[in-house]
Amino acid sequence: MIDTVALAMLGGSLRVSTPFLFVSLGECLTEKAGRINLGNEGVLVLGAMVAYATSYETGNPWAGIAAAAIAGLLLGGLHGAICSLTRVNDVAMGIALMLAGTGTAFFFGKPYVQPSAPLLPGIPLGFWSDSPQLRNALNVCPLFFLGLLAAFVMHWGFRSTRMGLRIRIVGDSQDAALALGLPINRTRLFATAAGSALAGIGGAFLSLYYPGSWNEGLSSGQGLMAVALVVFARWNPINCIYASLLFGAAGALGPSLQTVGVTWGYYLFYAAPYVVTLTVLILTARGGTALRGMPGQLSIGR
């Protein structure tokens, strides 16, 4: 029975962690440039809707993913552009964007709740095994690997590309950026738009792979929790992978226990990711080290 739970959790955490991974990477990218984007929750939901609708209309789920990324890019670009105006607060703007994103998605998504669109195929990494549970657990979405790739590319990029270092300078010291003559607003606009594109792909995963449908209750706040996740990951893309897997495992706990027939405490287990968020934030905030690695220009930290 323990094996069954463990297997279900492995498969579950790979599935549940993927949207966390994309949104947290996107948020990480934006925050590295000194902006915070609370709107990624809205981007996630809109991305899910756009992906599902596009996949339904074109019959190609990959076109859905591209469309979700573009939707994210546009919404993030809007956030970035508006925040470039003086006296616009990025936190308040982010909340407005979150509501706008979900609202738009619900409005245009109504006709797509019923029809079923072509979904993304999984990669059957468990083909060598006879156990159906193992095969099921190791049926991994290609987006997961795309997310891993994105994390490594970002990690390398922040250290070894001109753009990555510029993003860090702009995010960390406005004075230094000015002295170097860097285009601060343009850099932040890019980081916000690109970050939201990633969040959009996270949304596409929700509607096109797991749970694999479009409805209004699709997101359970992954876009907001990603903000906590980035703090936990110390603004490091590689840590975002670990953090997402941890959150994914916590999120998979409830469904996994259900597979073996544990029914008591159902809602309690479903709350696990939120409990983990809280615990993680409390534990890491001890000793005053929580904000090490935090970009100096973030409005929540300044």
Binding site: R159, R162, I169, D172, L178, L180, G181, G296
Partner: protein, 500 residues
């Protein structure tokens, strides 16, 4: 690579209704070391910031190698080969020295090959007069090391014209001599032109060829250093030929121990050892000077006493009882701290000068629920007058004041009222000749009245002049203590470098 000559003609610049510069001209010959002098707030930094494109001058023009140049952005100055080490640091704190250096270049490749870059940087560093750790995060460096990094960065960028805005305020005298010697040799070999802003007449006499002096935003004089004496320079700068004399030391320290530090340890931080101080005492009416090469734990000690750094073990006692550096305790025991980089550590930059001057006492001044704004303004006005603070108005954000005027503000606030223990980190940082003398007199007067003073300074002359006792810090420890009278600077220097 050849040096550039610069001429500024009739430059004017105002902030709001305040004229920081009016009709200022300056001619800098190629391959020379040019001193830009003047009292705090005279407009020196503003003038060079206009030249570097950081500000846009309202009137006037700049000639670069006798041709008119439009400099509207830092990038324009950059393209002309003009560089500057700013008075406020402009390195990115979360990035390593190597990353900061590479990113400052104009031709950073889209993807950076760190192995090749590190090798090239190592090679470049070998030709430098002082070393900076390439892999250290800039935020973990002490002020002196950061200043060196700023200078190294400009040399790395192969500037042909370089402005140094008070470059030696945070360097030890040996480091300063070495650094200035190096840049002067570069200038005289025709590779580089230097404009140096400084308040130290000794440096002017030893390293500068020609000077331009500003006073209250106007041109006040110019000339070759070899034709001018110290008295002429002082007169041009402050309007009087001599700075006030040094204050007199009156009486002996009391027996009463005001500050006692016992077995103090702090956590290591960013690859740097923490503090480990067995015992350090300051008596009432005594000045104890802490000498040391910057980056040996002085910053940590000030932070502990100012409540900015938690202690791991040991204790800090004031008047014999535990002191936790909380606001309540600092008010009750009358402890004041002037931190390193006061704008960052002791001010709220976007708040006004009045508010910042009242930070220590606004909540004790009366028992009402609301603040007495007019009393706050009056108190600030008296400090502004007493310390000669030059600000466009008392209600501008303190962050826009000139470096020396920020320092004056914090000094005024920390010296105000009844002070029993005074912790001072580089109290004369960025002050002009006259203000240095006044500040030293105030420190001595406080001592004479029975205040205990812990003076942390990178200026050994200042320590020897003011202190009753000298303690040398090395690698987070107090390695040596001795009476200041008759102390041998050579011996102190050896201890500072860790040779005991």
């Amino acid at each position: 690579m050849t040096a550039i000559g610069i001429e500024a003609i009739d430059i004017g610049k105002h902030f709001g209704s305040f004229h920081a510069l009016s009709g200022v001209s300056m001619k800098v010959a190629p391959g020379s070391v040019h001193g830009l002098l003047g009292e705090n707030g005279a407009g020196k930094s503003t003038l060079v910031k206009c030249l570097l494109g950081y500000y846009k001058a309202d009137t006037g023009s700049f000639l670069v190698d006798d041709r008119e140049a439009t400099i509207e952005r830092p990038a324009d100055a950059d393209a002309l080969g003009l560089g500057m080490v700013y008075q406020h640091f402009t390195l990115v704190p979360s990035m390593t020295v190597a990353e900061n250096l590479v990113m400052s270049r104009r031709d950073v490749p889209a993807a950076i090959d760190w192995r090749a870059e590190k090798a090239a940087l190592g090679e470049f560093m070998r030709g430098m007069p002082f070393k900076v750790p390439l892999d250290a995060e800039v935020g973990t460096l002490a002020a002196g090391e950061r200043q060196k990094t700023e200078i190294v960065k400009q040399l790395y960028l192969q500037r042909r014209f370089l402005v140094l805005d008070e470059p030696t305020s945070v360097l030890t005298p040996q480091e300063a001599t070495e650094m200035l010697g190096l840049v002067r040799d570069l200038a005289h070999s025709g590779q580089l032109t230097i404009v140096i802003i400084t308040h130290k007449l000794k440096e002017v006499a030893a390293f500068v060829d020609e000077v331009t002096v500003l006073r209250r935003g106007r041109f006040a004089g110019a000339g070759l250093v070899k034709d001018l004496g110290a008295a002429d320079l002082t007169a041009m700068m402050i309007g009087e030929p001599h700075a006030p004399a040094n204050p007199e030391r009156l009486g002996e320290p009391a027996a009463e121990i005001r500050l006692a530090v016992r077995d103090l340890r702090t956590a290591a931080d960013g690859g740097r050892k923490g503090l480990s101080i067995a015992a350090l005492d300051v008596k009432a009416g005594e000045i104890v000077g802490i000498a040391g090469v910057s980056g040996n734990g002085q910053k940590d000690l000030v932070e502990v006493l100012g409540g900015q750094r938690p202690i791991e073990a040991g204790e800090v006692l004031v008047d014999g009882t535990q002191y936790d550096a909380s606001r309540a305790q600092s008010q009750a025991r009358h402890v004041r701290v002037l931190p390193e980089e006061p704008l960052r550590n002791g001010c709220v930059p976007p708040m006004t000068v009045v508010d910042n001057l009242n930070l220590r006492a606004f909540d004790t001044a009366n028992s009402r629920l609301w603040l007495d704004r007019s009393a706050m303004a009056a108190r600030a006005a008296s400090m502004i007058a007493a310390y000669g603070i030059r600000a466009p108005s008392p209600i501008v954000p303190i962050g826009v004041l000139s470096g020396g005027n920020v320092q004056r503000c914090v000094l005024a606030r920390e010296f105000d009222g009844d002070v029993r223990l005074l912790v001072l980190a580089n109290p004369c940082f960025g002050l002009d000749v006259k203000a240095v003398a006044e500040t030293r007199a105030r420190i001595m007067a406080a001592r004479n009245q029975g205040t205990a003073v812990l003076l942390i300074s990178e200026d050994l002359d200042e320590i020897l002049e003011l202190s009753d006792r000298v303690a040398v810090m090395h690698d987070g420890e107090i390695v040596h203590q001795m009476p200041a009278a008759g102390a041998d600077p050579q011996e102190i220097g050896r201890h500072m470098l860790g040779h005991h």
